[in-house]
Amino acid sequence: MPSSTSQAGRGSFGWVMGTLAGLGLLIAALPVVIILIMSFSGGTNLDFPPQSLSLRWYGAAFDVLFGDKSEGTMSAFSAMSSSLIVGLVTMLASVSVCVPLSYAVVRSQGRWRHVAELLFTLPIVFPLVVLGVAYLLMTEALNRETGIDLGLFRLAIPHITLALPFVLRNCLSAMNGVGVDLEEAAMSLGASPLRAILHVVVPLMKPGIMAGLIFAFIISFNEFTVTFFMYTIDVRTLPIWMYSRTVSSLDPTTLAISTLIIALDVALIAWVDKIVAGKGSLF
């Protein structure tokens, strides 16, 4: 490997940095890895390491999601399908507005970039509980005053708010790489400005768009706090279902479902990474 590592390999610096990096990764991954291991436990208690290994919880998870009980009151199926639908709505909506926005921001020569980034970072730093209550009270007020029932959108709207910062960052960094000259080249070949965007800019933003889509989906699919305030008995997501199964009594089935979700998310992340090839910033 090139110098950076051969140099880092030298002396105390390499050791200390390597150890800290390892520690960081360990802290990030440890609890999740333990959950992964526990999902293969053969017992019902939380002994770690598990006394015996089995796939029984995966069987139970399959039952709950797709088996006989999937239609009944114990079912996670409807929660999963609304999670998927809300996730899809969130990803499509947030990406389809962030692409034109990042185009506008980058083409306005960076003057608005700071403002846009700041505005769109606020949702990350806003206390989620307060946001949840505010959205809930507003939605109910809307319903009271106008009778409008937002349906799935009562979840999708807050999810979009939370996904926008991440999606915008991805789109901006993708848009940065698309020179005006490419657009001008398309125009010099006879493309109208709009066609130039559709034929050249959008395809070239693809890595950022894909990363944005997937991040939006992951964020929506795993969002809990605001959803907890906003969900209704008819529109619930998988994290809410898992919450009801774990908040006061641990059902190991949820560990198996968690593992499946992690596998899905990790596969998506690896796919994004393949698309952006380590160059784009995921945030």
């Binding site: 009151t73 114990m74 319903n143 009271r144 209704t232 009801s244 006061s248 009594s249």
Partner: protein, 332 residues
């Protein structure tokens, strides 16, 4: 009679704990099987969360039936959010103990008895402790737990501490002082019963109260869990009547709702719930196996006797907010 509600839907809100799960198993599923109605259930957290949701939702129809603690029913009733069920449509109510038929000014239908006692570590205690005073024993410093402030059990705990200092539910000053002594000795607040069971199993806890043994139906049968529970306490144990209520704005049909309420009081259902998650049945005719009859953890109405403390819900509802705040502040 059979499948008379085919195609109808009823939406219920219940607890997230094992009791909630048992509601699905023993009440919702049997109701579906008997009437053909479809039950959609939401199981989220505690009574106060349910109240918050209903209050924020205002008159938006979302749930048909809610099961929750008495205090919550009183709060919601006084906010004018509840509908009075028609008692004539609830034949099973006739076999319910007179004291526990309705509450919250007729808005709540008695449903089960929730009882709180003391939990202890069977490895530490050769015999079950007999007073809440045990928790103050310095031996158990950092091995004690208490219920979380947001639960009604914390109100019971305050009263228990008050009783130790000669006070009562209407004179709790001493109780708060007494509780303050535990400030640095508490390991955790038992927000999550599974975690509490885990801590007992791993021998990290010795004692805790006031807490419902009902959370630990499985563990109490398992000698390896290290978990024991007792109601035999000098200062008494705490009993609370849980209600089913019907929000004013409900999406479902009244007849289905009443059938469901009636079903919750069915002797078989009540018996199953008692055996399954140690709920105290309110139906005097509840069908219990001989073994369950003997169980010290299933408190039947007739067993309430003189040691059971049953709060005046209206009083508790009035002081609840300030007690929760003081309890929280005492321990942080």
């Amino acid at each position: 009679q059979n499948r008379r509600f085919a195609g109808k839907t009823i939406r219920i809100l219940t607890w997230s704990d094992d009791t909630g799960l048992a509601v699905l198993r023993n009440i919702a599923q049997t109701f579906e099987a008997q009437t053909g109605a479809k039950v959609i259930a939401d199981r989220t957290g505690s009574t106060s969360e349910m109240v918050a949701k209903l209050k924020a939702g205002g008159n938006r129809p979302q749930y048909d039936v809610i099961t929750l603690a008495g205090v919550g029913a009183v709060t919601l009733a006084s906010a004018g959010l509840l509908e009075k069920p028609d008692l004539n449509q609830l034949p099973n109510l006739q076999s319910v103990d007179q004291r526990f038929r309705t509450g919250a000014d007729g808005h709540g239908i008695g449903y089960l008895l929730w009882t709180g006692g003391m939990l202890y570590n069977t490895r530490t205690f050769k015999a079950a402790p007999t007073s809440y005073e045990e928790m103050w024993n310095p031996k158990y410093a950092k091995r004690v737990f208490l219920p979380p402030a947001t639960w009604t059990d914390s109100l019971d705990t305050i009263v228990a501490a008050a009783k130790l200092t000669g006070g009562s539910a209407t004179n709790v000053e001493g109780g708060f002082k007494k509780l303050a002594e535990l400030k640095d000795r508490v390991l955790t607040f038992g927000e999550n019963p599974t975690q509490i069971a885990e801590l007992f199993r791993s021998n990290s806890l010795d004692i805790g109260a006031v807490y419902a043994p009902a959370f630990f139906a499985k563990e109490l049968k398992d000698p390896n869990s290290g978990l024991g529970a007792t109601y035999n306490l000098k200062e008494g144990f705490f009993a609370d009547l849980m209600y089913t209520i019907v929000p004013k704005a409900h999406p479902g049909e009244s007849s289905v709702i009443h059938a469901f309420l009636n079903h919750t009081l069915d002797p078989v259902v009540q018996g199953k719930m008692a055996e399954d998650v140690l709920n105290g049945p309110v139906n005097l005719k509840a069908v219990l196996s001989p073994e369950a009859q003997k169980s010290p953890f299933i408190i039947k109405p007739e067993q309430l006797g003189s040691t059971a403390v049953i709060h005046d819900k209206a009083v508790i509802a009035a002081v609840r907010d300030s007690w929760i705040k003081r309890y929280t502040q005492t321990f942080s």
